[in-house]
Every structure is written in C-alpha cells, then in structure tokens.
Symmetry: C3
Subunit: 428 residues, 3 copies
C-alpha cells in the first residue's frame, strides 16, 4: 500500500492538510516512557509500596525525626506518547510530580522550590493539617514567588489516598500538568495490606496539532485524555499474579467525570480521599465514576488470568486527538472528493476516510504502514495487541493476570496465551 | 391561527430556513414504535421477565444443554420519534439490539454475524468469563470481518444486570446505536423477586436536521437524548399496580452522566453492573446519577397512584433537537425582525419566537396547529398530556401507577383521573 | 501602574475590545449582597434553623391549622457579584426564591402567583405528595397562566432536603434562575440535630459581556457558576464554632455535576433528596459529586480552626466569565501584539496577558489598580484574602471555624490569625 495523506480529524480539517510534511512520520518511532517501580524506602519500612504508573515515589531524608521531601515546580518537556511531546509544568522533571509516600504518624517537611515564571503554592488535597499549611494562596499563605522556596510541615494524622496540586492560578497550573499523588500507609503494615498497589491521576489536555503547549482556557473540548499525563500505549501495564489482592488508587484532576472500567473482575471501592470505606458500605462495581477532585481506591482479587482492558468508558476518552466537529462522512462516497483534493494539493494523496466506519484506518496503522501525521500529534488509535490493533488510545491500559508471576515482579509479561477452547472463534 | 414558518433552533438558524417545505409536516403523523413485551421463555422458567422499553428479549434454542442465541450486527433504519427516522447500526433490526435474558448457571453460546461494512466484536460488559471471550478486538480475539460469524461461549456465573456492545471502532459503533441489555436472573426465581422488571439503555445521537445518520465525531453537543434510542413520546410508558415492587434497570452508553429522576416515590439503588448491593449499603434516592459505562438498578414499592414523570434531570436532555448556540431572543421585540425576514423570504412567514420564553411554542404544538419543521427533525417539545403539552421530550417517560391493574398487564392505562380535591387548582 | 485595557477572555476577544469605556469601572464598587439569616419562626418551634446562603426562609401564616406560604414567580434584577447585575426570573424578588422551611407532619398550603410573561408551574422535588400536586404542567395540572394564582396543598410526610422549581418550559425557566430550597425538619427537634445548618443551590448562567440576561439555549458552555445565583466574593461565608456539628445541604440545578470540596475536614454524606442515609452506609469524603437534580447533605464536626476553602473542584467553575476558546498566549511574547493593537485602537492600551500564566492579572486586581472591564462583567478572579488575591471566584466560599463564636452568631469573623509556627513559610 502506498503512503497516503489523510486528515487529522474524523471528517477532515482542510486547515491541517497543508501542515503535513512526510518527514514527521519518523518522529513517531520509539516509546520511551519510564516504567513505574515500587519505592524501596517504603518497602524497607514493611509496607507494600505503591507503583505509580510511569512514575516513581520521592525519596526522603530524615532530619531530627522529620522526613524531608523536596519538590521543584518547573516547566518540563515530556513524551505523552510515541512521537508526541508536550511542554508541561510539573514537579521534579515530570507530570505528574513524584508520588509522596509516607506512613501514618510521620512528621514530614516538604520544601517546595518555585522555578516557574509565576508564583505558585501547593495544596495537600485531603490531608488534615494546620490551616496555615493548607496551601490556598492568599487565604492560608502568601504566594511563593518565582525563585523562592516554601516550607510546609505537618504530621500525617491518618492513612489514605491523597493528592497535591497548586491552589494558585489553578485553572492554568493544573491545565499544564501540575499535580502529584500523596499516599499515606497505615502505621501497621498489615492493616489493609494488599499484594499490589497501583496509583495514577487522570489529566486532560488540549494541545492543538503542530503545537506543544496545552491551551489553559479549554473547559470541555480536550483532545488528550491521560493516565499520569500519558496516553495508551505509552501507559504502563498493570500486572498481578493470579489470586493476589490488587489495589488501584485513582484521582481525577480534569474537568469532567471519568468512569473507570475494569474487565474480567468485580471490584469494590474501598476508599476515597476522605478515608477508608467500611466493608459493609461498599458496593460491587465494574465501573467507578470518579468526579473531579475526587479519588477512588478500588480493590479486587485478580482471580481471572488473561489480558484485561482497563479504561475510561467514555468512548472519546480512549481516542487520540481527533476533531469533534466537521461534516459526517459515513456512507459518503469520497472518490470524487479525493480527486478534487488531490487537484488542489498536487503531490499529495487524500485518503478517503470514514465512509464505512473508522476501522479501515486502524488496520493501516497496525500494518505499520503509518501515514504521515501532523507534526507532534497522535495516531488516532494506537494500541496494538496480539490480534491486531486494539483501536484504543488515551485513558486505556491493560491488567495482565498470570498464574506464575513472582511476588514483586512488575515486568510486562507480554501477551496472554489463550488456553485452547477458551477463545471466541470465527466460523468459516 | 395560520401556519407560520419558524426556525429550528431557539434563536433561529438562517441556513435551515430555506429547507422548510410545508409538505414535510405530513410526515410527522403516526407514532409507530413497538411496545416492549415480557419474554415468554423466561416466564416459563419461573422468572419475572424483563420488559425492555420498546424492545424484546431474544429467543433461544437449546443444543446439548447450551442455550444458543443469534445476533446479527447490521445497518438499520428506525423511528426515533413520530416523523423522525434515523439510520443506525444495530442488532437484529433494532437499536438497541434484543435483550439477552438468561439464568444464573446457564451455559450459553452466542453466534454473532457481522453484516456491517466494517469489522466488529462484542464485549459482554460486566460478565465474568474466560479472557478469550471478553471481546476486545485485537486484545482478546481477532476482529470479526464483514460477512463472518463469531461464536462466543461461556457460563453465566452470577445473576445481575449487564450490557453488550462492540469493543471495535468503539467511538463510531456505539455512536451509531450498537448496544443491548444482558440480564441474568438468579437461579432461584424467588431470590430478589419483583413484580415488574423494566430495563433500558441511555443513548445519545447527533443527527443534524435534514440528515438521518449520527455524527460519530461529536463528543458533547448531542441533540438526541434517548431511552433505548427513542425520544418521548415514542418511549413506552412504565405501568405498575399500586403496591407492587418495581425494578428498573438502566445502563448508560452516552458520553455524559445522566441523573435519572423519578417523581412521587423514593427508591433505592439495589444493584450495579458489578452485582447486587447489600440492603444495609443502599441509599434512599429520588435521582440516581448513572455514569457512562455504568448500570444502575433501582427498586421501589409503587405505592402512590397517578402519572409520575420519570426522566433525566438535565433540562436539555428532555428537549428535542434545538441548537445550543445563537443569539438570545429573550426580551427582544422581534416584530421588525419578522418583517425583515419575510422580505428576504417571500411567501414565508417568520414566527417571532422566544421573546417571552418558549412556552408559546409548545401551546401551538399542542393545539395540533403544527408548523412545518425541517425534514426529518423533531418538534422541540413533543409530549402532550391530559392538561396540554407536557413540554418534555428526549429522555422522558411516565410511570403510571393504578390500583386495579392485573398482574402482568403492561398496557398503557391512559391518563390518571385525579381524585376530587387532590389536585392543584387555579384561583379565579 | 497606569490603567490599561485588557481583553475579557483569556486570549482576547477583539470584538469586546471596542466596548470598554473606562467609566464602567466605577460600577464595580460596592458588594451589596444580602447575608442569609436563620428563620425565627422555625427556631421558635425548637429547630436549628437553616441558613440559606445570601437568602432567607419564607414566613408563613396559619389558617385552620394549615401553614400558608406565598410565592410569586416574577422577573427580577439581582446583583450576582460586585458590579455585575443580571436579569433573572425568580420568586419573591430573588433567585433562588425564599427557602420554604417547615416541619414533618405539617399541613401546608402554597399560593403561587405567576407574574412572568409566560405560564409556569411548581414541582416540589423529592416530596411525596398526591399526584395532582406534583406540578408537572400538562401531566399533573394545567399550566398557571400569567396573572393567575395556583394553590398547592399537601402534608409533609417526611423530613429531609428538597427543592422547588418549575416543570413548565423548564429549560428556559431554570436557566433563568427559577428554583428554591424546601427543608423539612424532623417532628422531634432533637432528631438529627446539628449546631449549624447551611443550604444553597448550584446554578449556572451564560451571560455574555455587556448583556444582563442569560442565554437559555446554552447546554455546556456556561460562564457564571454560582452558589445561590452569586459568585465569590459575593457568596456569604459559612461560620462555625470549633467543635460544633455542621450540616450543609446542596442541590444542583445546572447542566453538569459539581464536585463540592471542603478543606481541612472529612465529612460524610448523611442525606439525599430521597431521605437520610443510615450511618453504616455513609462514606468518608472530602469531595462529594452532586449530580444535576440531586441534593447532598454533608455533615462534619468543625474541629479545625481556621479559614477553609469550600468550592467546586472543577477549576473553571471557580473562575469568572472568561472565554473558553481563542489562541493560547502561554509563552508568547506579546510586546509586538500590544503595539499592533494600540495602533488599531488609538487611545487604548492593550495589556499583554497570559504569557507567563494568569497570576500577573490577579495581582493587579488585588492592588486595587482595577482595569476597566467590559460593562456588567466580572473581574476574572475576584476574591482577596489576608495574603493577597485568592485567585478564585465562581463556586467558592470560605468556612471559618473559630474557638470562640457564640452559638447562633453567623457574623463573618474576618480573617483567621495563624498561630505562630503553624503556617508555611518562605525561605530567604
């Protein structure tokens, strides 16, 4: 098949067409996103450490019995997906920032250095602390000017699942990726113990094709829906040994609810950013709706071996950055249109698209006959599985349950081999 | 009153104006939507069968102890409301497809034939099954090519309220109506027994005036908000005898939350797509918010006789396809504008609208002095009750509770006759 | 600093620029919003009265053992924030209308007089009552024509948290502010007793700069996000004595979910518009997501002294009326653009904005060097605290907990004085 030019939105944006130099295709080669690893420091204290998807927990030093953490707010550049980089504002070089992981009862001190071009603060979402440590700029403290370091100090009065984010120029700073997880383990490591403990934040961005910086005025029409500021397939796989108890902690800092759906298992919501939910009050679910500024902790026994989809159930949130407007091409014969466009754009080939649905596009992608895309944008649907394109991107990843994983082994075990007779089959 | 031309969106779309041939009024005559009936096959096994609003359950055949079901994915044409037809993709001739109704412990086999112009799969949402039967194209199985039949086979390990939908080119295929209910009754017919058991799915479409096919790239700005791909008054009435225990199962496959609100009764959410909620964990509600990819089962005693509104509480979701942009006419004297428009469009009369609110429009509609509408669109608000226009369309229907219905009688009992002295009255 | 003209939306609306006469700045002087006070009539019956933010409860008269209330639906004009007035439709001169506060078992009669230019009704959301009193125009009763009075009469069968709003031309009438709270106290004043009981409704409006009337066709892109039709800092402060049990009742009549977030405290959701939630079924939360047409009652012990932010967690909902589209200025050097614009608009100065974030704007505002805004609009972020601009507006207010408040004292105690050593500090 020869390479063909296509339009970046479903029905085609004429404006984007002229911005499609074939050379950019080469940029989308390597997936170079980091894989999250458990914190050795928390493990040493006896706790099952959290694995932050594509991220890490922050190391601390101890001074006079106080655990000291260091965060630097700063502009960063980060790979969101293979071939697509974004300019974010983050902490310690990443968005989200490193996960703060500590233990109930700990006295902690956090040094926040502001290397942004404007002032900032940090609010410790869900934590109970003195009013002056709550981090709402103007209300609880003066803003932290650029170049300065602010010191927060408090005692972790309860275990749970929390976040940190600015409470200063919030709409801008959160829209650019400033956020992080804050996990407090119970003092007793056997309390609420699980075998695997994953965590991530939901973030949405609006980055136009050919640009790298999110628009901060966008209220609903985002085009990058992410787990920890990455889109599938750049999002790390979750793994578990069959029979293990798995916890997944999710916080939402976008502008809309995200119904997070797990295949193959029923889970319970065991906690929120307000605390742990008594077992008698828990509901069985396969989809938990996480509102903005909410966190949900889900728990389940990974008893079903296989590769299970785990994603936001809003179908547009598992897609790449397609346009949400434009005419409807379904059922339209585009042969004449292609001819017309090729007249207008000599040397380009217009790929008629969407006249029978979108699956034709995904197949081409899967065959690695990738078409040139606008510079710094995403293929429409990017994941590829053992049976071809998965046709999902964005807020999507896979839970891989295997009978034979070692405890603490978080390596991606590749694709599941379906046992004979256990898979849907296509009749001749 | 003479017939007058009006504009299809609240404030008026000039573009639409030229597309208003008076002849189209005649198209909006008959409501010809099917009324859902209970399945005889499930009743024969002793269960209270589900009534799918405007739909049916799928008959099965038994082969070697396995219940065999047959689904055909195919393009269809369906009446969404009186006078408005849409081209959907559905199953077995309808959208949603037929409800699969079976019993806990059943071994089932489902033959899925693909008559779409592109490949597809089916995911059995909420069901616990072997990984290879989970239906995520590319991840769990190869796609089903057009013209082929795929066989799924599994055992129903638990009772509950589930769905089926494609996990292939999802954004397109669900946006076109591909979805269905999957109800599993408890093995023991007396477990969790109710007297009436209704079910439907929430679907939203974006079909522009004068077109019949939904735009699949729309992310938020839909104009058709439906129960089972119909809008009120084409949505079937729910009926119950006073004192009966009623269950309503609702699943959401749109792109936003729908807060489903029942009048006259307090209900409890007794189940989700993850299972049954223990009574001690249930909350009393009059509105349950159903997130995307979630199902909610509500139960209540129908103890209050009367005609009770039952609808999504987002006010735009109980409206017909009005535009959501355009200037604000409230308080504007449109006489001069009318004159101006009539100059531009000789032979047409422009109806000034919205200057005192929208109720004036609804009254005209109620008097059957219907105005010509753009071809294949909906009146703005369509339901008419015993006291004039109900001024609601879209995701709206009525629960009719009567003291004297026979068990198993699902016929619409017409309007409630208010007992003397029990109705609000207007003073002279 | 000299006064400079700036653009009303983040990235600048050229159209708005010409509409910025400096004289309008003077309009934004006084905050003249009423402060809600507890009802003496309910207090006299032994109940902890509700404090409606910026509102009041409706007095009643008794006739033959029936409490009689009077509501007038009418167009009103109301200050939404300092310097910004809106034309709403409300009840008894305000939006929301007065809170109806009564007691379980009460027989009540409500006279609803329609002074709107179109018909209306009132639906008593969540209350259990005879079908003819339910207020759905066309279904349960004829509409109330302009100029007429309708009489509703029923007995309050249970205590709880309810609302009233029209069920007639709903999309228009609710979009213009027609709503009110309806609180029913338990018959026994010691049942579920709290020390402070606050209540408000969430409402959203779309009022374009230089206009005063909300667009009623807007479905998602609102620009005024309010508590009781006011934006911060026009929203009343919530106060509590340290150790008191506080209840806050919130209902949502917008078009989207609002995750209401409280700082410094963990709360439980103790009730809905369907009733009271048994303690064993309650979840600990710091953010409760309130769906449209839902009410949530939260309760907590105000045990942490200080000034605690209390707000919707969607970052755009704590902002003033900024545009949500337009180009992205972040990182753009606007010096040349300013020069160019000033050429086009002699006598005006264009303020380059947003190139380092938005905080620069807020500081200017805080120094009272206010820039001229488009007539009848809001500063982008308006609240100012003890340490400078809070950078939040819209759905935002402050809970002030003090050790030394008198019972029943609802006066704003000014800003919290942080105890030495308890506040984040900026290093030299």
């Amino acid at each position: 098949m020869q390479r063909r030019t296509f339009l970046s939105s479903f029905a085609g944006s004429m404006a984007a067409l002229s911005a499609l130099p074939a050379a950019h295709a080469a940029e989308r080669v390597a997936v170079n996103t980091p894989s999250g690893k458990p914190s050795g420091m928390v493990a040493k204290e006896g706790h099952t450490p959290v694995v932050t998807l594509n991220g890490q927990s922050l190391d601390w030093t101890v001074k006079d019995g106080v655990k000291e953490f260091r965060l630097t707010a700063e502009p960063i550049e980060q790979e969101v997906a293979p071939g697509m980089k974004a300019k974010f504002w983050g902490y310690n070089g990443g968005s989200p920032g490193p996960t703060i992981e500590a233990v109930e009862g700990d006295k902690i001190r956090i040094f926040v250095t502001n290397k942004l071009p404007e002032h900032t603060t940090i609010h410790w979402h869900g934590l109970l602390l003195p009013n002056g440590m709550d981090g709402v700029g103007g209300l609880n403290q003066p803003q932290i000017p650029p170049g300065k370091t602010c010191v927060y100090e408090f005692t972790l009065s309860k275990s749970g699942t929390f976040m940190y984010h600015p409470h200063a120029d919030e709409q801008v700073q959160m829209a650019l990726g400033m956020m992080g997880l804050f996990i407090v383990h119970p003092r007793n490591p056997n309390e609420r113990r699980v075998d695997r403990d994953y965590a991530f934040l939901l973030a949405a961005y609006d980055i136009e094709p050919d640009t790298m910086t999110a628009k901060t005025s966008t209220m609903t029409d985002f085009n990058l829906w992410t787990f920890n500021s990455r889109t599938f397939p750049a999002i790390q796989t979750l793994v578990a040994r069959q029979g293990e108890r798995v916890r997944i902690r999710v916080g939402n800092l976008t502008m809309t609810n995200h119904p997070i759906h797990l295949h193959g298992h029923t889970f319970k919501v065991s906690g929120t950013d307000g605390g742990w939910i008594p077992p008698a009050a828990q509901w069985p679910e396969v989809t938990t709706d996480i509102a903005v500024g909410q966190m949900r902790v889900i728990e389940f026994i990974a008893d079903a071996p296989g590769d299970w989809a785990f994603h936001c159930h809003k179908s547009h949130h598992t897609m790449g950055p397609m346009g949400h407007s434009g005419p409807n091409m379904l059922g339209v014969d585009q042969k004449k249109l292609s001819h017309h466009l090729e007249q207008l754009l000599p040397g380009k080939h217009y790929m008629a698209m969407g006249s029978t649905g979108m699956a034709e596009m995904q197949n081409m992608a899967s065959m690695n006959e990738m078409m040139p895309l606008p510079a710094n944008t995403l293929p429409m649907m990017t994941g590829t599985g053992p049976y071809g394109p998965i046709e999902m991107g964005g807020m999507f990843t896979v839970l891989k349950v295997r009978p034979d994983l070692a405890h603490g082994d978080y390596q991606d075990p590749r694709w599941y081999k379906q046992p004979k007779g256990s898979q849907a089959w296509i009749m001749d």
